[in-house]
Amino acid sequence: MSLIEVENLTKVYGAGETAVTALSEVTLRVEVGEFVAIMGPSGCGKSTLLHLMGGLDRPSSGEVVIDGEKLSRLSDEALTRLRRRKIGFVFQFFNLIPVLTATENAALPVTLDGVKPAQAKAQARVWLEKVGLGKRLDSRPDQLSGGQQQRVAVARALVADPKLILADEPTGNLDTRASEEVVGLLRQAADDWQRAVVMVTHDPRIAAYADRILFLRDGVLVEEMHLDQGQTGSADRVMDTMRQLA
């Protein structure tokens, strides 16, 4: 059984004449240790797909199963608990709490889960060391660069040992170097720490870090590309495919 099973997922916004189909009959699977990128032109439904996979939104029809749990059957509370324990999120705008330190921000998911503060912080420190921020543990977000802030966010996504990492344009607000660092961390999460990583991006060079790329157009899954991380030129292949879709 795959870690994520998405079956015939459809999302329609609005009703009647103004109804807009954001996602139509999407089916896919993601395995443990796999890094999947989702690409497509603006408005193709890639973010909607990510939101539905993360239980942030409810589908119009279809089903998302994460680690054997059908999201449609979960209450708001159970869904919240599932997000807290099984999913780690990385957002485009970092979304760190400005008044908390790097350690406290990274510790949030475990703190929210009721872990004692000292232990939660210890866990957070371990992950901050791993993402290379061992020297900025007590810095506030406004004392960190964008790349550093996003690395705190990655540590936060990993701290609760979730099986799945969902990243929504994680490099959208970063320069090239910081982008590469962050996506490198996501790659590491899949390879070294055996997490399933699903990332939405529109940057072919960033997408090229994935094992597999899913292309969406008008809410429909239109193409799937497998990449070999040993090979070069992956980014160009991705760009070609994007051009064909556009």
Binding site: L56, T80, R83, G88, F89, Q92, P109, A160
Partner: protein
């Protein structure tokens, strides 16, 4: 888990120090007023109660006339005849207000002159003599005083003690000393009963019977007391004294009024909290969404916001309680000296009950948490998706149509209550009107803002600041409305009180002129407290009348009575002379007819308070209880004068007062000079005569009127200062809203600066917004205040102070000025902040 919420709350609060301070200050002010006043007033009540208990606890039974007047000695015999009464003694006791400087530098405000029958008194009480000897029946010139009074006046046994009496100042010889007085109350001067009766011009009369009973068995004692009560009839009071209850009831009224003000401040505080937390939630939508996305439950979000409110509530309340204690204890401390000096009451320590502490804490914290609850619930509805959307400032907020409709209904009800009339409906109407205004305020923001922005546009010509300010305000109409509502409440109180004060002063000054328009006034130490003033025998008036150049002399005499079951002060006038020196202000009936009716027999002119209390109208018959039995009097007029405006009073002829109440003592004298008389010659002669009567002072009528006007101005000035303090929360609310607006729009302000706005323009934009907000609050406040003032004047009229409503133009102008001044004051800090913003940082602000 709560630890995390506390940490986050503490960090967020310390990040926005100004906002935290202002929000907390709002709560502090409310709890301060409630706590402080509730410490002060019970402490005073307790002092009075302790005083009364101690004073009445000495003998088994005291009998007084309900009216407090003197009565015949025969009552003594009637008490003595009741089986079980073992000893009785008659007393004639009277508080004597002492004029300033009467005893040189030592200030004694009042003494109690007590005439006793030396032998009978000693069968009831044990008098310990610490120097000299006790009184003897054949001792008309002798007095026994306490060691403490002797020390105070520097007297020893054998020295003379001067006391003002109806016969002029009288000198007693101090023959004995009692131990120093430890009880609260005035110092007592014991003299013989016969001498007291002579000096107080009450021959053969007493005003208290003291008695001891032959048993300590409670059941048996009750039987005896019941028998005494039955024998004496309902005109007499048995047991403890009722004096001072008037002070207690006015203290209680004060407590209610201050509590009301405290609740209003807390209410405004609640508004401020509500506004702040709505902003906090709006500001942190992104953070909240993120927390929801990474697994925070709705309950966690709710408690995050509520804990932040709780922290502020707890801190604000704690500071408020602390400052309130200092306020209450400070006033108690300052008053202790005054109270001890003037009424010999020991104030004791401030009374802080656990109950008060708990109630205040619950109110302060409760209001904060309650006000934070709505925004907190809104926060729980923030979806995790909010975290994923790029932050875009809200361009506008929709206004609930339902609250507008409900508000209009309330306004209509309010106006209906006003139109139908009657104090109850008008009061309810006023409340409905206030609620209605608060509810429709959000909808009014847009139209009022556009009207005023035209004005502001004229002032800050062609900079576009007015337009931006207006649209900023309209962007958050309900926040603007909540802020304006708190300004409204503050200003409504000012306009309302202004209406009341102008109505009172307008009416009263007129009455003052009429009542005290005579050339000279011969004044006792305290006007209105007729009972404790020592007057003069009628020969003083005669001597004044005989001074060449004096045309007419008219006096007031006093007795207390009860009419139709209501206590009333009776003033005896000479109907013909009185009309020549002064006049009553008539509401019903007219002067000539009424004065003629007084001359003719048992006629009575009732003032407004007595009319209201006893439910009287012209022509009614009033049953007055007199020392000689119940007598019927006819109401021949409804009218009042200045001196007795606050006291339930009736005017009868001096002839009736003498016949029914045996009173001939003049307590107040007015006189007019002949047209050709020279005041410079007459005045020294009048002063010569009055030198024998130190309790009286000679004042020119015009001088007195002016002096009173000054007192009026001072009292109302103080009142307005107090009200000013109570409007502080509305200033805080304005400041808060503006500061929040600036913080919220940091990025926009950065953009404006980046594309070329000067600091000056940005500052003006904030000031314009402040003025718009203040104008809105002021407009609503004026409306609400006019209604409030009308209701208060109506309430006064129903309570027996008939005054005509005077439209408070000056109050409106003052309130408008205060409202706009608040606007400018509130804008200072936020405008500075906006103008000095670092452009780059502002543009990067999230």
């Amino acid at each position: 888990m709560l630890g995390f919420e506390l940490t986050l709350a503490a960090r967020e609060l310390s990040k926005r120090k100004l906002r935290t301070f202002l929000t907390t200050a709002a709560i502090t002010l409310g709890t301060l007023v409630i706590f402080g006043m509730n410490i002060l007033l019970p402490t005073m009540l307790k002092a009075f109660q302790a005083n009364l208990l101690m004073a009445s606890g000495q003998v088994d039974l005291t009998v007084t006339l309900k009216t407090g007047e003197a009565f015949s000695r025969s009552t003594l015999t009637r008490v003595r005849r009741v089986p079980g009464v073992s000893a009785v003694s008659g007393i004639l006791s009277r508080t004597i207000n002492i004029p300033d400087k009467f005893y040189g530098k030592t200030n004694v405000a009042a003494l109690t002159l007590t005439g006793i029958d030396p032998s009978a008194a000693q069968t009831l009480r044990t008098y310990t003599i610490v120097g000299g000897r006790f009184l003897r029946s054949d001792d008309p010139q002798a007095a026994v005083i306490t060691q403490s009074l002797a020390d105070q006046l520097g007297l020893q046994v054998g020295d003379k003690l001067k006391v003002p009496t109806t016969d002029g100042a009288f000198s007693f010889k101090v023959v004995g000393l009692l131990p120093a007085r430890t009880l609260p109350g005035n110092e007592e001067v014991l003299i013989t009963l016969t001498q007291a009766q002579k000096l107080l011009d009450l021959p053969d009369r007493i005003n208290t019977v003291e008695a001891n009973l032959d048993t300590t068995d409670p059941a048996r004692r009750q039987v005896i007391l019941d028998q005494v009560a039955a024998d004496l009839g309902k005109d007499y009071t048995l047991g403890g004294m009722s004096a001072g209850s008037e002070i207690m009831s006015s203290l209680q009224t004060g407590q209610i009024a201050f509590n009301l003000f405290g609740f209003l401040s807390l209410f405004m505080g609640g508004f401020i909290i509500l506004n702040t937390f709505r902003t906090i939630v709006a500001e942190r939508r992104h953070d909240i969404g993120m927390l929801r996305a990474i697994g925070a439950s709705r309950r966690t979000i709710l408690s995050l916001i509520l804990v932040e409110g709780l922290v502020q509530g707890v801190i604000g309340t704690a500071i408020g309680i602390g400052l309130g204690y200092l306020l209450g204890a400070g006033i108690v401390y300052l008053e202790t000296g005054l109270m001890a000096q003037y009424i010999h009451i020991q104030m004791g320590q401030p009374v802080v009950t656990l109950e008060l502490l708990v109630v205040t804490a619950c109110l302060g914290v409760g209001v904060t948490v309650l006000a934070g609850l709505l925004p907190a619930l809104a926060a729980t509805r923030v979806t995790p998706l909010e975290a994923l959307r790029p932050p875009v400032a809200d361009a506008g907020q929709r206004i609930g149509r339902r609250s507008f409709v409900v508000g209009v209904v309330f306004l209509v009800l309010g106006i209906a209550g006003f139109a139908v009339g009657g104090i109850k409906l008008a009061a309810l109407g006023c409340l409905a009107f206030l609620i209605g205004l608060i509810l429709v305020a959000p909808t009014l923001v847009r139209p009022i803002a556009s009207v005023f922005s035209v004005l502001i546009g004229l002032i800050f010509a062609r900079e576009g600041t007015g337009t931006i300010a207006q649209s900023n305000l309209v962007r958050q109409p309900s926040r603007a409305a909540i802020t304006a509502s708190s300004t409204m409440i503050g200003l409504a109180i000012i306009v309302g009180m202004g209406g009341l004060v102008f109505s009172i002063t307008g009416g009263f000054l007129d009455v003052l002129q009429r009542s005290l328009g005579s050339d000279y006034l011969v004044m006792p130490p305290s006007v209105g407290l007729w009972k404790s003033n020592v007057g003069a025998r009628s020969d003083l008036a005669d001597r004044l009348r005989n001074v060449p150049g004096v045309a007419v002399v008219s006096s007031l005499r006093y007795a207390s009575a009860s009419g139709n079951g209501q206590d009333v002060a009776l003033l005896g006038i000479n109907p013909t002379d009185y009309a020549r020196v002064a006049s009553l202000t008539f509401q019903q009936g007219d002067g000539p007819t009424a004065y003629a009716a007084l001359s003719a027999g048992r006629g009575l002119i009732a003032n407004g308070i007595f009319t209201a209390q006893a439910a009287l109208k012209l022509g009614d018959e009033v049953q007055l209880s007199t020392p000689t039995g119940v007598k019927p009097y006819t109401v021949v007029g409804i009218a009042g004068d200045y001196l007795n405006a606050k006291i339930s009073t009736a005017y009868i002829s001096q002839a009736s007062l003498q016949a029914d109440f045996r009173k001939t003592e003049d307590v107040f004298i007015q006189l007019n000079l002949a047209p050709e008389a020279d005041p410079a010659q007459v005045e020294p002669r009048l002063k010569d005569i009055l030198a024998d009567y130190p309790q009286f002072s000679l004042v020119s009528g015009r001088g007195y009127v002016e002096q009173n006007q000054k007192i009026f101005d001072a009292v109302f000035g103080f009142l307005f200062v107090l009200l000013g303090v109570l409007t502080m929360p509305s200033l805080i609310a304005l400041l808060n809203t503006l500061a929040i607006g600036v913080i919220e729009r940091t990025r926009e302000i950065g953009m404006l600066r980046a594309i070329g706005s000067t600091r000056r323009q940005v500052r003006r934009m904030v000031i314009a917004e402040a003025l718009l907000l203040a104008a809105l609050g002021t407009a609503l406040g004026l409306l609400a205040g006019l209604y409030l003032g009308y209701v208060m004047v109506l309430g006064m009229s129903v309570g027996g102070y008939p005054i005509h409503y005077v439209f408070p133009f000056a109050g409106l102008v003052a309130a408008t000025a205060i409202g706009l001044l608040f606007g400018v004051l509130a804008a200072i800090i936020p405008a500075r902040q906006a103008a000095h913003m670092d452009i780059i940082r502002a543009l990067q602000y999230e």
